[in-house]
Symmetry: C2
């Protein structure tokens, strides 16, 4: 749904080249809204509008455009104006964007960018994707511990508009080693004591992120300690940058989406669903579907192996989907519960014994209940009540097998250092399909042969 | 995993009743760490330690304890001390906690709490769970638009330690109507112009949350506009409170977990996995498992209906799990993709036509590919290559049916105002199981009868 509220007015202002009105449009409202109202404009038109915003605001509006339009503007507009725009972006956004455009254009833009921003870009780009270094920004308030409250306020006032956040002041020594932190809250509280030094206010027990740390772990820390921003340090505790709360929210949304996709056996992809082309989407799904399909071929082989039993007791085939879906459903339930509990830090691989017992207990309750309904249904459909006994025994065993593998497989994957979400629900279900068939036919042979 | 690093020292300090050391332990480190180091202590011991912290910090440490211990402390310790503690908690945390303890104890605590906190508690408690009102806190910096920058800084300095955040100053009129917002960043930038009035600095185009708005929608707004906090207003635009970034992160984590559970057909539950008792867990899973089981019983009925065909072409049963799992897996993939895309605002019900075409296209690609492998496998196992043709035709149709229902069902649920995540993967898979069987046997009748 594209916001078309101001489209006609915007187009008219553009046609009449009405500078005053366009400037008013860019400055009067929140940059995210300015960007939203321009959704219906082409990249070129949007850029014509944004050129009327003051440079510092231009970067902010640009940051709220959708990525496709951002890339089109970067690739199509005047190089020197674009270099200025890129220079005004937050350091982390700059790296994300330039990573996605044509390398040749980046090479043309780099010499046009201010030296400091260029160096920063080259440094940030060197961190691997998904690491703290790749999401951090370098625009943090760094101050000397010998500053007084008054001097710090003035220094901050000077820099306030350029920094990503002024709400945490990081105290560093001459060589950028992180010594402590003073929150703007503490600083403001101390206004009445202007001569107090920052070293007397600062907290020294800090939560930090290592520059190579996984972004998901960093997000968890920020959430746990309710931080506004987390400082990123190297192995010598030198401060390299910060990751702010809004980036943490983005990381968490992205990771939640990826986990959900993995759980449904879809290989994660970068762009949104609606912007990912059909063939790429088919590939991301096809890889896992094929693996699952090959698994399922084993069920065909297993059933062929039991051909004699299936021919003898034809009604067994009726309950085949029921048996395997019961196992599969309980298995995916358990797998999802354990995967999300591990993602939130609630369950750890060392808890495996407790988890397995709990799941076997749950399996007994659920399996017992399904076995009862299953028996009633089978008794009505099968040739005799005695024959129908195959179904409840099978269901109980298959459900137990589902809760057991749903619990153990993600734990094992985590223990092996793999993403437990790889042990996706369809995967667990696929394994149980085969095991379920083997259980089913063997129970049938035991029960029915005695008749 | 419980942090046992300081346990022996803590126990020793407690035994010796070493006030100075215990106070040092409570004040020297981040309250979240203090809470973490006390994980191995009982509720009573933890409270003995925390009593040595100054009251304002006591509330903060308490807020980081795990919920079980919090509740035990509230229920077991001296009522008047607890009333003070509860008075010091953030207003939103207070409501969450008192909601979970014995109503009788709440009645005893209420008269002991300061009047203002008591009234606030009673007011906040009246908002329905999941609404903005229920997560907001009332401790925001509210200022008059006629204040100067200097006066505002002083006012803020006075209140800084009591407010949940001082980083946004909300400008309200005499009757609390929200007029505008000045960020602490703007205020600090204007330090050099101390006589400027807030009305000249404030932004008036504000993003707000309605007090009855769903917490998930509010979280999405905060994420979209990169806010530190969002003001919560009533229908007359009177400011009632704020929701801060850390609460937004908690809401998002909680919602992501609930969505993942719904997708796996587990009814959401409040406590963590490891703290939810086995029987409650079985109930939350059993409800949906039973629904799915009744669905699966329909597959048994369908297969019984086709008993003649199954007896005539016995090998059809071999490929039954393969056929239905292929449909189920593509169906869950699509359902998850559409549900997560809707949760992120990428896909809306009005996009249904585009989504359906994309999914039918993907279904053709994936179905075509699986049909090819399936044909090869069936040709080796079935009685003749001509018989084997049943499998590829069925697979193509079933996969198309999977992508189609996976796309349409969540969209329809959303359109009906229901949670699309209710159209869980096992549910979609269950529907496809039945449709898949009907397709399979009918394709078989067409292909095989012509032989």
């Amino acid at each position: 749904m594209i916001n078309t509220l101001y489209l006609p007015e915007l187009r008219e202002m553009l046609n009449e080249n009405d500078g005053a009105e366009l400037r008013e449009f860019c400055t009067a409202i929140h940059p995210a809204r300015t960007a939203e109202f321009m959704e219906g404009l082409t990249a070129g038109e949007s850029w014509q509008v944004m050129r009327h915003a003051p440079p510092w605001l231009r970067g902010q509006i640009f940051a709220f455009l959708d990525e496709e339009k951002q890339l089109e503007i970067l690739e199509s507009q005047d190089r020197s104006e674009i270099a200025d725009l890129v220079g005004d972006l937050a350091a982390d956004d700059r790296v994300d964007l330039l990573d996605d455009i044509d390398e040749e254009i980046v090479e043309e833009l780099l010499p046009l960018m201010p030296t400091e921003e260029r160096r920063e870009f080259l440094r940030l780009r060197s961190y691997p994707e998904g690491s703290a270094g790749a999401v951090m920004t370098t625009e943090a308030a760094k101050l000397d511990e010998n500053l007084t409250v008054e001097a710090a306020l003035q220094e901050l006032s000077r820099q306030a508009m350029e920094l990503e956040t002024i709400y945490y002041l990081f105290i560093v020594d001459d060589t950028d080693h992180l010594r402590g932190l003073v929150s703007a809250r503490q600083l403001v509280s101390a206004i009445a004591k202007p001569d107090v030094k920052l070293s007397d206010l600062m907290e020294t027990d800090l939560v930090t992120a290592d520059v190579m740390e996984d972004q998901e772990d960093v997000a968890r820390k920020v959430a746990k300690y309710d931080l506004l921003a987390i400082p990123v340090v190297d192995h010598e505790h030198r401060m390299l940058g910060i990751i702010t709360h809004d980036d943490v929210i983005d990381v968490m949304r992205e990771e939640a989406r990826e986990d959900a996709h993995r759980i449904a056996a879809v290989e994660p992809f970068e762009a949104s669903y609606s912007k990912t082309p059909l063939l790429l989407l088919s590939w991301k799904r096809g890889i896992w579907l094929t693996v699952l399909f090959l698994f399922a071929l084993l069920t065909a082989a297993a059933l062929r192996h039991y051909d004699e039993q299936l021919a003898r007791w034809g009604w067994l085939a009726w309950f085949l989907p029921l048996v395997i879906s019961s196992g599969g459903n309980t298995g995916s339930q358990t797998a999802t519960l354990i995967i999300t509990a591990m993602a939130l830090g609630d369950v750890k691989p060392s808890d495996w014994l407790r988890v397995v017992f709990k799941e076997l207990g749950t399996g007994l309750v659920l399996g017992g209940f399904l076995a009862t309904i299953g028996f009633a249904a089978a008794a009505m459909m099968a040739t005799s009540v005695r024959d129908a006994m195959v179904i409840p025994f099978t269901l109980l065993l298959v459900v137990l097998c589902g809760t057991f593998s749903g619990a153990v497989l993600p734990l094992v994957f985590r223990r092996l250092g793999l993403d437990p979400a790889l042990m996706s629900s369809p995967f667990v279900a696929g394994i149980i399909d085969i095991v379920g068939i083997v259980i089913y036919i063997n129970v049938a042979m035991v029960v029915l042969s005695r008749v």
